[in-house]
């Protein structure tokens, strides 16, 4: 129970600044000022938005399917929140160190789709149904390239445990039970003979251990945009044609829950991208001879400094990815449905299948 409350508080502490950042970054990219009135530089704006949403009347349309309509936001938010359970925050802070963490995460996030369908169908509104159908079609399609990208990492790391994958990507690797005798080689290739286990930093990140994972990362990142229903893949919400998509009939607290779930999912997929590709909570600075930058910016497992460094690196990398998501949203126009499906099935899926094969071969060179 405590973990859930801590998780929600942590989530709010990240989501509220991201909502503010979204508005400010959008404004700056469009040469506007953004919120300026509520507090200095408008920093209280997202909090006031939340208060406004809580104050509003909770309207359930007369002809809506009341049960589906009422429970859909709960299902959506619960699915996203449950995903955070397996996310490691620092070398020894993790809500649930599940051995099958990645498998669980992919499964629980897919539950989101049911909530979207419930919301769309339950609203008894043609725009909501259209939005929900588009949303579900898009999410189900893009789970395939995203899942294959995750599979690439799983093949390289030989683990489904987020914490084990995190330990593999830094100088703390020997301190994880079961990895004591492992060695990290530069680019993961043993025959190169460059042992970087004690150098750490960026040299042990997955993106460097197997450089082609960068392609997997780009595809995962684009697919995750589609899974979050974010621009340029926001046809399910397409303001100009569907008003707001599946949540067009929602107001008040229920809309707040959907809104929170949307931004939480955005942070969750960024966290997963960072953990799988960009070294999780590990520092980017390597040990160079006597200048032990990696040791200085990592701390020891379980200590106060170790946790603080872990949280700092993980969050800064995640927020950088969130910035990129926002940046993309305010740059690109929306794709058409046929372009969306073309990109998924004819471009990403074949590339990812090839990459999975390449990762299998690479793994053979790593041992």
């Amino acid at each position: 129970m405590l973990a859930v409350i801590l998780c929600i508080v942590f989530l709010l502490m990240v989501v509220v600044p991201v909502v503010y950042a979204e508005r400010k970054i959008a404004a700056f990219m469009q040469d506007r000022l953004g919120p300026t009135e509520a507090g200095p530089y408008g920093i209280l704006q997202p909090i006031l938005d939340v208060i406004k949403l809580l104050e509003k009347e909770d309207i359930i349309p007369a002809n809506a399917d009341k049960k589906l309509f009422a429970y859909a936001p709960v299902v959506i938010f619960a699915a996203v929140l449950a995903g955070f359970a397996v996310i490691p925050i620092s070398p020894n802070i993790i809500s649930s160190g599940a051995y099958l963490g990645i498998f669980y995460l992919l499964a629980i996030i897919s539950l989101d789709v049911i909530g979207l369908l419930m919301a769309g169908w339950g609203s008894n509104n043609k725009y909501a149904v259209l939005g929900a159908m588009r949303s579900v079609g898009q999410i189900v399609s893009y789970e395939i390239p995203a899942g294959l990208a995750v599979l690439c990492v799983v093949m390289i790391c030989q683990s489904l445990d987020f914490q084990e994958i995190s330990y593999q990507q830094g100088i703390l690797m020997p301190q994880f039970a079961g990895l004591e005798k492992e060695t990290n080689y530069l680019f993961g290739i043993k025959s190169l003979g460059l042992d970087v286990t004690q150098i750490g930093g960026i040299t042990t990140w997955n993106i460097v251990r197997m450089p082609f994972l960068f392609v997997a990362f780009v595809i995962y990142f684009i697919s995750s945009l589609a899974e979050c229903n974010r621009a340029p893949f926001d046809i399910p919400e397409a303001e100009s044609e569907l008003v707001a998509g599946f949540h067009v009939e929602y107001s008040g607290f229920r809309f707040g829950a959907l809104f929170l779930a949307e931004y939480s999912l955005m942070i969750l997929v960024s966290l997963v991208a960072v953990i799988l590709f960009w070294g999780s909570w590990n520092t980017p600075l390597p040990n160079i001879g006597a200048v032990a930058l990696a040791n200085w910016t990592t701390g020891s497992v379980g200590s106060w400094s170790g946790n603080m460094w872990g949280i700092f690196w993980l969050l800064s990398k995640t927020l950088l990815l969130c910035y990129t998501q926002i940046w993309i949203r305010w740059t690109y126009p929306r794709l058409r449905v046929d372009q969306l499906m073309h990109l998924c099935w004819k471009v990403f899926t074949p590339i990812m299948l090839g990459l999975v094969l390449l990762c299998g071969i690479w793994r053979l060179w790593m041992i």
């Binding site: 700056f28 040469d31 506007r32 940046w327 993309i328 305010w330 046929d338």
Partner: protein, 201 residues
């Protein structure tokens, strides 16, 4: 479906990716210039259309800062009642009838306007309903003493539309009543005098 694209950006991988990167670069450039702000410079300023003004944020936080308008800006009407001869020309030419004038003939000498025209009438009411005004400026062109002018004030919203009626008269209702009674008295005296002359014949 056939795609219609220009030669520069055909559908090849390289051109698509380079177009995407250029787009991202464009928004990022604007993001990093967000430290600069448009300044509230006057239109005659050298920099009004200049390089510095076309970079950075263009929004002004309006009630706190605003672009200066010319001294001769033609917005809110103002009547300098001391110079007004209450000739009613403005009320007659007004296309939307927003000027309401009620004149009382003066019984005594009430002086000159600043351009030397003799004043003969008091304005018991001189109301301009700026909620009706269409800012055409016709009233200012017909004004013989140039007392009715347009000012550079354009920001005068009110919470009650009644407050949009501007009262320019310098007489209080009591004073106006007094002037009216004086006039009636004088008229009566004149009529009396006339009648006396007629009777004497």
């Amino acid at each position: 479906m056939k795609e219609y694209t220009s030669n520069k950006y055909n559908n090849s991988f390289v051109s698509v990716v380079s177009a995407l990167v250029r787009g991202m670069g464009l928004t990022l450039r604007h993001f990093f210039k967000a430290g600069k702000r448009r300044e509230a410079t006057y239109v005659s300023d050298k920099d009004y259309f200049g390089q510095n003004q076309s970079q950075g944020l263009v929004t002004l936080t309006y009630p706190y800062e605003s672009l200066p308008v010319p001294e001769v800006g033609r917005y809110r009407l103002h009547n300098e009642i001391d110079d007004c001869i209450v000739c009613d020309l403005c009320a007659k030419i007004c296309p939307v009838n927003c000027i309401e004038i009620d004149a009382i003939k003066a019984t005594e000498d009430i002086g000159l306007t600043s351009d030397g025209t003799k004043k003969r009438l008091y304005a018991a009411t001189f109301n301009i309903d700026l909620a009706k005004c269409c800012y055409c400026g016709l009233c200012t062109t017909v004004c013989p003493t140039d007392c009715l002018t347009m000012t550079k004030v354009y920001d005068f919203p009110e919470t009650d539309v009644k407050n949009m009626i501007y009262h320019f008269t310098d007489l209080s209702p009591e004073q106006a009543q007094e002037k009216r009674e004086k006039l009636e008295k004088q008229q009566a005296e004149l009529a009396e005098a006339k009648a006396a002359v007629l009777r004497a014949r």
